[in-house]
Point group: D2
Chain length 248, copies 4
């Protein structure tokens, strides 16, 4: 058991692109996702030549400006996310344009689970003490419930089934703070929408941390697609992303 | 604070239908959703006359048999669901073809929260005692954290904002068992898919209860659309829905 | 065969609502969709009492202002649409948050098909003459192809199958202008998005007509939900909808 | 202008994967999509060790057998498709889990458009002659309408706008057979669903050709994910895909 304070976000998958034969087009970007986006956009208008010499970055910035965002859907990014709480993942999985594979509390034992402590609780010894005591008590209750339930289900031949029945009930006492891990995949249009909502000052503090970390990775992956976002820090210390564009 | 054992499911909204002028068609069903489904199906083939005298029920059963399920999407049903745990809602909101409005732990105080006890825990005095003690301890920790955090944020002028900042952090110690409430809306195709997955014996016990209750309401609302499902009870006491049809 | 100039749009289905027991809430709207939306919104905050005496309309207008649009997803509306071209339906079915049941050219004979003439073509006798001649020639080619193909497939015992094989090939010569009919269902959030895109001056002329007709029906159905849209007519005679809100 | 008989399908984008640090797992596949799928599946159960020495192929085949298909959503594939008709694309874009960027008849001139002739029409000189005459007549009508409409809109200063207004009306006479081109992106679960429906003998002949070509490319890209599909040819000469698995 450990008390965690920062989410871990790793970019683990993204779109590779191979320009097909027969399209009289070249571009200046070396990033596959951005090249695919320009290719798909030019498919709509068959504008394979580029007389004005527009760069890939200019092309994509024009898409953002025009709100022609469906073209961004062709490129995707996947993240492995850990060090987040179950209340954070409950918010994450509300985003219906994404795909998720998440640690299952029905199948995985949480005897040694970690717990994610909100910063505002960690920063005060009084609240920190309450938090640590509460999550440790919950963990002990979970372990004890799990033992008694496995005993109760000892007549079930399958060990996997027996454990599942015990764990899915015992987890009832685990707190929102329990760490979870997941893979989250979405296209770049969906990620833009996610950042607008979840890296905003109106978002909950933990998911905003996650969104800001994801933004850093996405900005490296496809700088033109996220070039309109600006990191700003308010007088109250809240860091958020803002953009002049409102379309999703 | 109460300990809850059964979910509450109420059908609160469903589709009304008014046959438009100019379509030479009548049907024998008096249920709006089923009439709309037949109307939409007949639109595809312009089969407004019905020479073989097929009933609405036969028409819909044929759709199920053919796997022509997109027609079922025109009719919807909404449920108000309460008495379920946050671990159950975490599974519910994974269904991306539905719409949800759920009690927010960021905005709503949980000082008097109820807790949902799994049946297998309730049925043994030893596990029941551990459960009750654990959730009550969590509730007390939540109340104390909330007080200290509201104090910490006392410089913030907006009471709504101050409370939100306290509650969204304090909820970290609330258990999975904490009761939540929500409105869940979906079309009848999506509900069929939901029932196939969540009223199955492979589903977790609490969500299976919810799914079986929803099934009862849907069967009243649109009996032809759910007529293939059979309630069965296994030797191990597990009640589930089964259907001969496999398409979603 | 007829030449059509105006789409037909009929509201055929919408959401009915029955307030469940046990929620200490009343509202002043008599429209079911709007009552459901307020109910779902209040579920999130458990704000069942209404000390400030906010009307349902004010409640919904605040949702629009805050961009809290997921609540609008619980109420839906279905339209029967006819008198539109296949190029228009090709644009309609790109909207992925809707459900569609459309006349199938594989199954339905188009010998007596109608054709939708664009206004700008109809308004000039020269273009009108070209259009009428072209669609009539296409129809004759379709009829002749269909006959020859049915002959070719005369060895196939099933009349339905034989006809399908002939029609799905013969339709290759039918023009974009060929009339189609469909049922289109979506929730009110999706319809707002649709109106923003398709009732805009940037939309194609025919789909803009459809969107403006749908808007009129939606405004009657749920006036508060669409109260921010304004019909405006430009100096160039283009009628469009505009709204101060940008979120979808 | 050319008469086309075969669709062109090229795989242009797919998912690359980089295993993150800190997960004690290796696998035997060298295909990124398949490695990502196994990684995401193991995230759910934290089954990073592999005591039974299951291969990646065995792991994925077990997912298919269990119907645990959400894990397949993390890997995607994009195709550039050309040589297909507008009636085929009208069917393609009905698949709502995909992203599309399609040649716009509002913006692109179709003076030199190609036309896709159904095989059953091409195989008989009588039907072939009718087809060729019909599409050439439609093309000539389009060219003439376009000229007259550009004249009509000659007062509009923007050349792009003027052309758009002419083309979006003139296309009304273009036939279903008119060639279109598009980029289509989806995840591997969506592609499996697409193949089940569109490579089936019940599918329309042209889209079945497209689906079978896509299948060949997907089988190369991720053989384990599509290993259950079998190409079969019926006594009537219809080639289709079949699979023992029914879940989507």
């Amino acid at each position: 058991m450990a008390i965690l304070h920062e989410p871990q976000v790793e970019l683990i998958a993204w779109t590779g692109f191979a320009k097909p034969e027969g399209y009289p087009w070249t571009t200046d970007s070396e990033r596959d996702g951005e090249r695919l986006i320009e290719f798909a956009g030019r498919m709509c208008y068959q504008s394979w030549d580029n007389p004005s010499g527009r760069t890939n970055r200019e092309y994509i910035q024009n898409l953002l400006k025009q709100g022609h965002l469906s073209v961004l859907e062709h490129a995707q990014a996947s993240f492995a996310i850990s060090g987040i709480s179950r209340s954070c993942s409950h918010e994450l999985v509300r985003h219906r344009h994404f795909s998720f594979s998440q640690l299952s509390q029905r199948y995985v034992a949480e005897d040694e689970a970690n717990f994610v402590e909100p910063s505002v609780i960690a920063s005060d010894p009084r609240t920190h003490a309450i938090f640590v005591e509460a999550v440790e008590a919950a963990r002990q209750a979970y372990i004890r419930l799990n033992e008694l339930l496995e005993e109760k289900f000892s007549h079930i031949p399958s060990r996997v089934e027996r454990r599942k029945l015990a764990r899915q009930a015992a987890r009832a006492v685990l707190p929102n703070a329990t760490e979870t891990k997941l893979v989250m995949t979405g296209n770049l249009r969906a990620w833009r929408h996610f950042l607008r909502l979840r890296a905003s000052r109106h978002a909950e503090a933990e998911i905003r941390k996650v969104a800001l970390l994801i933004y850093q990775k996405l900005l490296e992956l496809a700088p033109a697609v996220f070039s309109d976002f600006q990191v700003t820090c308010g007088a109250d210390g809240v860091t958020e992303l803002i953009t002049p564009y409102t379309a999703d």
